[in-house]
């Protein structure tokens, strides 16, 4: 039992809403095709704001809501697969924007499992007492990564950010009951974005434009991976926590596809009502999707203190990550 408490949550969605109908002007698709296969009706696209800007909105909101001062933070971790740049890290930009001068900051890259991986990393810094006050944010501007002519992937993604403040809980009421992280690197080619090839010769041809690839996905491989590995990860985490899967009050699954979530619910024999979704509003926001949903469910009081909540990310790597927490 690890006594870590989610102190506060927040999310930020960029203003521009793009409904499925608008995508039919860009590619051969339809509202019916997108919504029946994915559950997505709308996504929001960031115009002019990069990932660090979205994350900074979240970070500022977290500080206002919690009353924490920026200089009290020890650590800022940002999970993203669409950072502003190779360097500086998006987390470093956020740290600078907040003037959180006592915090060290870095990014975690684990695609749609990014929040779960970042949450795990941050937890370790708290458990070892290296840090006391930690901010974890998942933020993405996937709109700059997708190929807007590829109807198989472009319709799926949206932009957004969300995060949590974490601290150790002396009362022991809030806990991380167990976690399970797995990586399947042999299947790394099933989902990729931003592939950046090495030089083919030296000196390089100065005329040669260096391309960085857009999103590419083997749909069936990723679908099969998610529907098989997420239930297994949840079961492993429950075994470690010594609870039954049915004892989990709310399952916050990465919002990749409503059909994947339905299949996972069916495989686990857990009622779909325990698997809230918001993918219809936001699309797949990768590392941001779990904390966006978490924040919404806490705000609507669907999740209350003491509830047992499973947070599960899955995606590129391929990766899967589960935390079972007592909120």
């Amino acid at each position: 039992m690890e006594n870590i408490k989610i102190i506060q949550t927040a999310h930020y969605i960029p203003e521009k809403a793009v409904f499925n109908a608008e995508l039919t002007k860009l590619m051969d698709t339809s509202d019916e095709w997108i919504s029946s296969r994915t559950g997505i009706k709308k996504r929001n696209i960031s115009i002019g704001e990069n990932t660090s800007d979205l994350c900074t909105h979240v970070a500022e909101d977290l500080l206002v809501k919690s009353g924490w001062k920026a200089d009290e933070l020890d650590l800022i971790v940002v999970a993203t697969m669409s950072p502003d740049s190779y360097t500086p890290a998006t987390a470093a930009i956020v740290q600078g924007n907040l003037q959180a001068s006592n915090a060290f900051a870095f990014d975690v890259s684990a695609a749609c499992s990014g929040f779960a991986y970042a949450f795990e990393v941050a937890s370790q810094f708290l458990l070892t007492k290296r840090c006391c006050k930690v901010m974890v944010i998942g933020g993405e501007t996937l709109s700059k990564v997708v190929d807007w002519s590829d109807r198989a992937t472009a319709v799926l993604f949206g932009d957004g950010a969300a995060g949590v403040l974490l601290a150790t809980d002396q009362t022991g009421k809030s806990q991380i009951l167990a976690s399970d992280l797995q990586t399947f690197g042999a299947d790394c080619d099933k989902l990729s974005a931003g592939v950046n090839n090495a030089l083919s010769e030296f000196p390089p041809k100065l005329s040669e434009r260096r391309e960085i690839s857009a999103f590419k996905m083997d749909g069936r491989a990723v679908y099969s991976f998610a529907t098989r590995e997420v239930p297994l990860s949840l079961q492993r985490a429950c075994e470690k926590a010594q609870i039954d899967v049915a004892q989990i009050d709310v399952f916050i699954l990465h919002q990749a596809n409503e059909r994947i979530i339905k299949t996972i619910s069916k495989r686990l024999r857990i009622p779909l009502s325990k698997f809230p979704v918001n993918i219809n509003h936001y699309g797949n926001t990768s590392a941001a999707s779990e904390p966006i949903l978490l924040d919404e469910l806490i705000a609507s009081q669907r999740i209350k203190r003491g509830d047992v909540v499973a947070l599960v990310g899955f995606g590129g790597g391929l990766t899967v990550g589960t935390q079972i927490i007592k909120y």
Partner: protein, 80 residues
């Protein structure tokens, strides 16, 4: 495994996945046109067959009807 046994297995999975009536799942039934499946349903049917029969199946193999699925599964099982 006989063709009839494979058909019964496919039929049970298709009924569960597509929520269709027993009588609709005939060998001649077209999975997409008659049984109203989409590509994700086909993924899931193939995944369930893979898990139940311990065989590797491609979703984009040329399968249109239930008979095609039965033939494909039989071919892969016989090749094991």
């Amino acid at each position: 495994m006989t063709e009839q046994e494979i058909f019964e297995k496919v039929k049970a999975i298709v009924i569960e996945q597509l929520d269709v009536d027993d009588a609709d799942v005939t060998l001649k039934a077209d999975i997409k046109d008659d049984l109203d499946a989409d590509s994700l349903d086909v993924f899931e049917i193939m995944n369930e067959l893979e898990d139940d029969l311990d065989v590797k199946l491609e979703a984009d193999e040329n399968v249109k009807t239930i008979q095609d699925v039965v033939n494909y599964v039989k071919k892969e099982l016989d090749a094991k």
